[in-house]
Symmetry: D2
Subunit: 431 residues, 4 copies
């Protein structure tokens, strides 16, 4: 069973990947944490997450050829546990790991998260390193044919081997010592290797044993809908898409995925639409840019993520946020839906539009989001009949738009319909 | 949108298929309806459903060769609408259709249902019959390459043809005239033909237009989980398995299907585990028999269907029910869960066991069903931790078993665990 | 076993489909036969083939909606055997079938062929027509779930039914009476239905029993390479592609298919690349046109078909052939390769080029065809090493190009290489 | 292009795998070579092949857990080229590799072969070893995601990397120095990785450049029939099955595979049915045994391999051959068919029987093999009609059985048919 009070609402935070790829360093993490504490914390933002390859030397240095340099030097302890690369995380020197950085984040009133790849470093297996707390060696638990298709760092574990669980236990014990609050485990959510279920169970068990409350986030997607119950038993978030970037096609596609997963949103369990590629992104990918989404599309993305109550992880470099983007992240109505809402409901859907609702479990407000997914202007209605079929009436309630004029794309009409431009949407609250 | 008050709880009734195959006649339907009115109605049983090929002449007469005799005579009106075969339904003579039989069933305080195949009779297309209420002919709306893989009676409709909707409208208008309360539409739920979504939408639209409240049940399964939202928008029941018969492997497999579909149980929407093959079954299949399930397995089946809140459709010849089987169908605790329960929750699961819960929306009782799916005796517990994670505590509540000694397989223990034999289960209520 | 002397060389002829679709009539067939006798027969062309739906009334009359009008009137005898529609084939009146037309063709010194769909007319099954020479009826041998995906006329036969073979026997007996020399059976070559092997065997057996020598051609492709031996045992030609039309992509793709099937060319057995869409084509498809291939591509097509020794069936309306196209069909060197060649050999291949050879079994000449499949000019060589590896030396032989300047695209060089334009080719003979 | 005179007839020899698994040593190889020279060489047997993991330390020492110990010590030179493990091949000490052993074999008048895994040792990549004759390092050409599913030793090469070809060139240069005559390259024939075609081309190019004539054998199967031409261009043998062992089902299945590949048997190109698991086998697999085939089945296997002209590689420990088995390997008629035959032809086939022919290219003898694949005694005939269709007549020829009474299973009849027991066969020669 999962920890009871963990992630009762969708986790909200910042993740280093969209801007820094594999290259983020201590100073940059701190700067983003500082910014979050100063400007976003008051709105519920709290996780600061260091994404992939914080243990790798020279990460990003041959970027035109490799995203992940194969067979390269990694920082590792004598038990085959990866440590922060001191090139980039000087405070980790002397075996202190992420503890100093986690302390820094905690001191700001925030929480600290890290990314891991499932399995054990290939280097540990080839060097026959001992597994902490067991009598086995890395080469005995690593499965030489169980690899990641896109990252060369690890071997998957053979769950049938004595000592495989011990290795994961040793990892989480270390992370608990460091003060980690959030683990994003990668190369596992798609369950495309035979050991998938067993590896997820080992992670979950190790986390339960580590004595520290942590959120478990599984990546990358798409998750398998057939395994929905299994994810919910073992994790707090699971990616329902492959990596999400700033292209309309991917955003439009997310409406299908949210349709599929809507009934699986519940306390402690949040299907994950991936990071919000807003603001400045792409720098270490060699393409620093403002998000490719139009303003209309950015609002549409926020409306979908919030009515669906997806985890909110910003991909932007926070220190470069402009006021308009900050506004996107601090809308009180949308964040109230994220915090107080329940299971989202798709009310109607066709190729060109979607209408979603959610209900505030505290004050009973009804949130409605109407989306024009087509390439033509289109008028949409609040779907009173579908609401009624869900036991909800808008009769006697007052309607308000969550966004003011600076963000709004649609033209509201007195008869409570809205004319939306292509890719546009509105977010209404009725009370 | 679906009709608002239809099937707020799982439909319960009798279906002719498991005993009569294609051969049931008017007298037999009446006898089963009489029995239901006299012995089961008080417990909530209400639908009397005539299954496949009520329109076919000589049905079952060459059973060693055909389940459905191809290219054979069917009873049909001038608009290509199938009528009850007067060989078996004498009251249908003179174009009265099922109206007299429906009247009979209604007079008993019960409801009347029929099975249909999607599409239009092949014979109607080959004879170029006109479509009622339109200017087109059957050959224009029938799609010659859209057939059923296992039944030779119909062609699927081409949804792009003007007149296709008119044909379905004409069908449902007729059924409304007859007084039909329940339609089980076959060859559609698996959505394995390109026209599937469109045909379901046409059925739903025709039903909405017919002016009579009816339950729409889709068959056969397995339904596609990716289309869960679509089924819920258009139908009240959809089969989550292929035809279910009295073999343990199929029953064990149903635990996987219920895991998959659990979050989709809601008022008006009931994933369908197919008929209960209890009592006497199989006669017109050439194998009249008592159900092949052991008593222990029969209780396990009832426990699963009821904790999951599947529709309950008995396959037995009702007039031959013995007392023990009648007891299975009239357990007040299980039926209270079916009537008052909510969305079922699987609490824990492995290859050999499952624990399910449901909660009474009226009095807050907690229903728990524990299942031993293995081949060894096994002790199971009520999974307090998993309940807590679902916001439920058993502290201070009193536990009672739903079944008395005649039905119970497990040995209860004072410390609230139970030792269950292979295939055995218990159904507990806590209040 | 197949008939011994049938199709020892690749069949050559004309087929009505590419120009007339389903609409060809007696006069048009005769006009094409006349032309063939006058201008092409001397070069080895001999088959005149009437393609699909010669039995259908009103064929082509609702072409914007249907290629094949479903559930429409067909000409049929009392035994469910299709007859030529007298609307289009007046000489067939009075039950004479194709005998008068076959006589006409034979009188010109040519051979006569027809297209059939596998199976039995749907109408025959629905009308319960008797099967000639047996005690069964059409409805007993027709399989209601065994249909063609694209043509609505027939049901496949159930090979397990007594009488299925009798039906095919009755067909071929009729065709033998008519004087048919060539049968192109459709909806069978892809073997995508369970009865495929059995239906092919039934056709083959019926042909063997009919007492007349006929070529058996199977359509449409792509044929399954796994069944290569089975095709060779039962048929003379089998389509290795889906329908082939006048687009470069399809022509380029044929190089892959020829690579795959090259070792299966042998006396009596010719993998079939489909008709040559040359000259005027497309009329009854609503798009009468000159072939969409450039002259360079037309030569390339001829070079491939002839070096590979594919059956040669012209799709053009013969009476409209221009001199240049006639030249394509009457090249003595290419046709000598078709008549005297052996098993073709691909000597080398990459994405942009191919070199093929064949050897004359009479005089030992070596045929070489070099193809530039790319979009850039490219120089190609005769691949002496690959020839040597196949036991062939060009040393001391004299080279000649099969085409004169009017057809040639490549620039020959004194060092025996050739510079070919995009899509261009040469055909050389060494002796 | 392949080397011209290499493997003009099917290679015949001994392979260490079936008896020794990964464990064979120098003394054992020599003992088998000695035996071959003394008893089999006169019949055409010539290759002595050392199979998998001759470079591995401790091979077979943890056999209950691993066939191939992962992450273990291998013998390797400074350029990442594997060398014979001196634990087992003492003559290889001092960097002499297999040269002394090859010399020994050559001195017996035999040829020497080795097995390799495609790719480069994982250890070489992790240690960044330089690639001989190039400026790149192993880590630059190894593809970390291109692995073998069943053996942990290697990484596949990235064909796009400069230096990948150089590595293969360096390998074959070494093997040429040693005097290797035969390379069996593993993990490549199924072509189930994207680099397959490119890796085969690199092997072929390296072999062409090495200056020594070698046979190239690709493993494991099943090979892809779609790539038949590609195999024939690059290799001499390619496995058409997965590993073949001594079970009737596998032997029966080989008749399907031979049907599929029959037209691809030609000089230099031999579809490979894998080793002959005869005599004593299985020792290092922990199951030393006499072959599981009955004597009747052993003869059937020999008859199929020889009429098909598959490469003949004995799996038995030669020094333990009994007379009867030696007789199987030294039948002059069968070996004459292997040496002088041409492309085999399947004459007829059903689920229960097969008749194959081959023709002697030197003296025109006709070889016929008749097989009863069923579980009932059955009479078979020489299929004169099918022979005729292949241009062969038995008229006036004299028939002789290849086997004498000690090996024969069938009862010959005066009318030239044979009654064969289940799994039985005859091999006839007509001249």
């Amino acid at each position: 069973m999962k920890q009871e009070h963990c992630a009762n609402t969708p986790p909200m935070g910042w993740n280093s990947y969209d801007y820094y790829d594999t290259t983020v360093n201590e100073e940059q993490v701190k700067a983003n944490a500082d910014y979050m504490a100063a400007h976003l914390k008051a709105f519920g933002w709290e996780y600061v997450v260091v994404d992939i390859e914080w243990y790798a030397y020279d990460a990003g240095s041959i970027r035109e050829r490799y995203q992940y340099i194969p067979f390269w030097k990694v920082e590792m302890d004598a038990y085959g546990r990866l440590l922060p690369c001191p090139q980039r995380f000087p405070s980790a020197e002397g075996g202190k790991g992420f503890a100093p950085l986690a302390d820094y984040v905690h001191a700001l009133g925030l929480k600290f998260g890290i990314h891991i790849m499932r399995g054990i470093p290939r280097e540990a297996a080839h060097r026959h390193l001992p597994v902490y707390g067991s009598s086995v060696k890395a080469n005995e638990i690593a499965d030489p044919s169980n690899i990641c298709a896109w990252n060369p760092d690890m071997y998957g574990l053979n769950p049938a081997c004595e000592g495989a669980q011990a290795y994961y236990d040793s990892l989480f014990a270390l992370y608990a010592e460091w003060g980690v609050d959030f683990i994003k485990c990668d190369d596992i959510c798609r369950m495309d290797m035979p050991s998938a279920r067993a590896e997820i169970a080992m992670l979950h068990r190790a986390m339960a044993r580590c004595g520290r409350e942590m959120v478990l986030s599984l990546s990358p997607g798409p998750a398998k809908i057939e395994e929905a119950w299994y994810y919910a038993q073992h994790a707090n978030m699971w990616r329902i898409t492959d990596d999400f970037w700033d292209h309309w096609d991917s955003l439009k596609d997310m409406f299908d995925r949210c349709e599929l997963w809507q009934r699986h949103v519940s306390p402690g369990c949040f299907p994950d639409c991936d990071m919000l590629p807003l603001g400045k992104i792409g720098k270490a990918f060699g393409n620093e840019r403002d998000t490719g989404f139009t303003r209309t599309e950015q609002v549409t993305m926020m409306n979908l993520w919030c009515i669906f109550r997806a985890p909110l992880m910003v991909g932007a470099e926070l220190t470069k946020l402009d006021d308009w983007t900050t506004g996107l992240l601090t809308n009180e109505t949308l964040l109230k839906c994220v915090q107080n809402g329940g299971t989202p409901k798709l009310l109607c859907r066709d190729e060109e539009s979607a209408v979603w609702m959610n209900e505030d479990s505290v004050d009973g407000s009804i949130y409605l989001a109407l989306f024009n997914l087509g390439e033509q202007e289109r008028r949409l209605f609040p779907e009173a009949a579908a609401l009624l079929a869900n036991g909800v009436s808008l009769m006697g309630k007052k309607m308000r738009s969550a966004w003011d004029g600076a963000y709004e794309a649609g033209k509201m009409r007195h008869d409570v319909s809205v004319v939306l431009p292509p890719h546009g949407s509105v977010f209404w609250v009725w009370r």
